[in-house]
């Protein structure tokens, strides 16, 4: 404890007896260090220091920031901000506050400058040195372009992903539809076979499609690529006819495999058997075999 004077001790005793001091160790509080704020001195200094220049020399303005139009529209006008308290931590708000302050200044100052005939717009043919070099401005432009391109790319990628997802969805739906149709057909057929329904309308919708497809399929598989393939194999394949080989030799002359008697004698007639029965129902044995295969 610091050295206590007698009078102070007596005071403490009195206070304790009156009940002002609590029992226990009482530590005398240090007065917090007062910061110097010589208001009179400041005002005097300002008065001495002030230069009463015309506004045109100083070009200074003191103003509140311009009203935030967007915030007003959206209805998020912050009461705090209008009174002047800015949240320094919220970067965007803070910068917007500074921006609006500058805007308000500009809006106020431009008419004043016009009156004093000080130009604010530089004419197009006035070439002068700028604070930032042209090279630097090119770099800035490049960076902005890069940013924009990056954004565009990401947008494209997003769209593509969405499309793919959508496409996948559609594909899945189509497959499911087909499967459902097949299932329905099968159940209908089974029902008929078991004798639950004796209507054959389910066949109509399907039979044509089925038959047509199978018939055409078998035809295609027989003639289509096979004949072409055969010819090509013959011409170019291994063991096929090559360039400089002889023709009209004894063997080829004696070969009568390509001879069709009916065609030669004009009795075959042209092939117009397509108008026959389309839905030629296969025989019992064939039907049984088909069923078994399935």
């Amino acid at each position: 404890l610091p050295s206590l004077s007698l009078s102070f001790l007596i005071q403490l005793q009195e206070a304790f007896s009156k009940g002002l001091l609590k029992p226990g160790l009482n530590v005398p509080l240090e007065e917090p260090k007062k910061a110097v704020n010589n208001i009179e001195g400041l005002k005097m200094c300002l008065a001495e220091f002030k230069k009463n220049l015309p506004w045109v020399e100083r070009l200074d303005l003191t103003n509140h920031p311009a009203v935030d139009v967007l915030a007003k529209i959206e209805g998020t006008l912050n009461k705090k901000q209008s009174s002047g308290e800015i949240d320094a931590e919220d970067d965007f708000q803070r910068e917007m506050y500074f921006y609006r302050q500058a805007q308000a200044t500009v809006l106020e100052a431009l008419p004043k400058l016009k009156k004093l005939q000080i130009p604010t717009k530089r004419p197009d043919d006035y070439f002068a040195e700028m604070a930032k070099t042209d090279q630097h401005m090119q770099k800035v432009r490049k960076k902005l372009m890069q940013k924009q391109m990056a954004i565009e790319k990401s947008e494209k990628a997003k769209k593509l992903r969405e499309q793919r997802k959508f496409g996948k969805k559609v594909q899945v739906e189509v497959l499911q539809k087909r499967q459902k149709a097949k299932k329905a057909m099968m159940t209908a057929v089974k029902k008929y076979q078991k004798g639950m329904t004796d209507k054959l309308d389910f066949l109509e919708g399907d039979q044509e499609g089925k038959k047509g497809s199978t018939a055409s399929k078998s035809q295609m598989s027989k003639k289509g690529p096979n004949a072409k393939r055969k010819y090509k194999d013959q011409k170019f394949g291994f063991g096929g006819k090559k360039k400089g080989s002889k023709w009209n030799t004894k063997e080829s002359f004696n070969d009568v495999s390509g001879f069709r008697a009916k065609t030669a004698h004009g009795k075959g007639g042209k092939k117009f058997n397509k108008g026959g029965k389309k839905n030629k129902r296969p025989g019992k044995e064939t039907r049984r075999k088909m069923k078994a295969r399935k």
């Binding site: 910061a35 110097v36 704020n37 010589n38 208001i39 400041l42 005002k43 200094c45 300002l46 001495e48 220091f49 002030k50 230069k51 220049l53 045109v56 020399e57 100083r58 070009l59 200074d60 303005l61 003191t62 103003n63 509140h64 311009a66 002047g84 800015i86 320094a88 803070r94 506050y97 500074f98 921006y99 302050q101 500058a102 805007q103 200044t105 500009v106 809006l107 100052a109 431009l110 400058l113 000080i118 130009p119 604010t120 530089r122 006035y126 070439f127 002068a128 040195e129 700028m130 604070a131 930032k132 070099t133 042209d134 630097h136 401005m137 770099k139 800035v140 432009r141 960076k143 902005l144």
Partner: protein
């Protein structure tokens, strides 16, 4: 972004145009407001501060540069330097510990001076600030209304106005007003921004530089004299760092204490709350062994290295196989 082109070879026609415009606008009046600002620094500044100084010199055509001052000299030497250069304002940057940057703004012969701590410095060269302005064009100054409310802020406002505003008809200045400097008070600090005026409807783009000033003290004299104002909210960077370190240390100490307490708790004899009668049923003390006194020293144990060599059968076999002995 720059309608203007900076031409390397200026043709005769352009000289005429330039001259005419200059004559029209600049030489129309005499330069009366003789303000000159000396911008320089002490030793030990880093690249960012150097660029900031350069930027300020670019922005202010009424500025002059000087060589770095040795830190051994006292601060009032700055006044003499300013006198030699015939300047009546001074912006002096002081760097300490390679980390902290202090800025003095002063009216040199008799007037007031202020010391600030500079934070959040961004220079002109940053690519995010896309604006541009004429070199040496006169700025508009924009102040927060809070500057008028307190006497110390009012004094600072006057100081900034006189220092940063370019005098009219200064020979190095450009006659157009195309950018605005803003000083705002937020979070008990002064924020500085520089915007380019693009259109008449007040659409702006930031040019830079930008920094934050934390007021420390205002003196009545230039770089000295009685203190007029001391910022009670200012905490020196050393103090900030010290507080952080102490906080860390306190946390560590607390953790240590908690650990120790836990250990102590485990070691102490625990009070038996309920006596169980059947507790000592299985307690059978061992027979007493005869005391054996060893007369000879014990044999030294095999070294640990040899213990490792105890291979299992499988390993032995593989080793031999590899060696080709099997």
């Amino acid at each position: 972004l720059g309608k203007s082109q900076c031409r390397a070879a200026v043709t005769r026609v352009e000289i005429d145009v330039f001259f005419n415009f200059h004559v029209l606008f600049v030489f129309q009046g005499k330069w009366k407001n003789k303000e000159r600002v000396l911008v320089f620094s002490s030793r030990g500044i880093n690249f960012r501060t150097r660029h900031l100084m350069q930027d300020l010199k670019t922005m202010m055509p009424h500025s002059k540069a000087d060589t770095k001052m040795d830190r051994k000299d006292k601060l009032f030497v700055v006044n003499e330097v300013c006198e030699i250069k015939n300047c009546n304002k001074c912006i002096f940057f002081e760097a300490k510990k390679n980390m902290d940057l202090y800025m003095w703004v002063s009216n040199v012969p008799h007037g007031p001076s202020a010391k600030f701590l500079v934070q959040n410095v961004h220079t002109l060269a940053e690519l995010k600030m896309t604006g541009n302005c004429l070199k040496g064009s006169r700025p508009l100054l924009s102040f927060d209304p809070k500057f008028d409310k307190e006497p110390h802020y009012a004094l600072l406002k006057e100081l900034f106005t006189q220092t940063f505003s370019t005098p009219q008809y200064h020979p190095k200045s450009q006659p157009f007003v195309d950018h605005v400097l803003t000083f705002t008070i937020a979070d008990k600090r002064i924020w500085f921004r520089n915007y380019q005026i693009i259109e008449e409807d007040a659409s702006l783009v930031e040019i830079g530089p930008r920094f934050v000033l934390n007021l420390i003290k205002i003196f009545q004299g230039s770089f000295g004299g009685p203190t007029l104002y001391e910022n009670p909210h200012f905490q020196s960077p050393n103090m900030c760092r010290r507080l952080m370190r102490m906080e860390k240390a306190a946390r560590q100490k607390e953790r240590q204490m908690v650990k120790e307490i836990r250990l102590e708790k485990r070691k102490e004899v625990k009070e038996v709350l309920t006596e169980d009668v059947t507790d000592d049923v299985f307690v059978t003390p061992a027979e007493e062994k005869p005391k054996e006194v060893e007369h000879e020293a014990p044999r030294p144990s095999k070294s640990k290295k040899k213990k490792k060599l105890k291979l299992t059968e499988l390993k032995k076999r593989t080793l031999l196989k590899r060696k080709g002995l099997r």
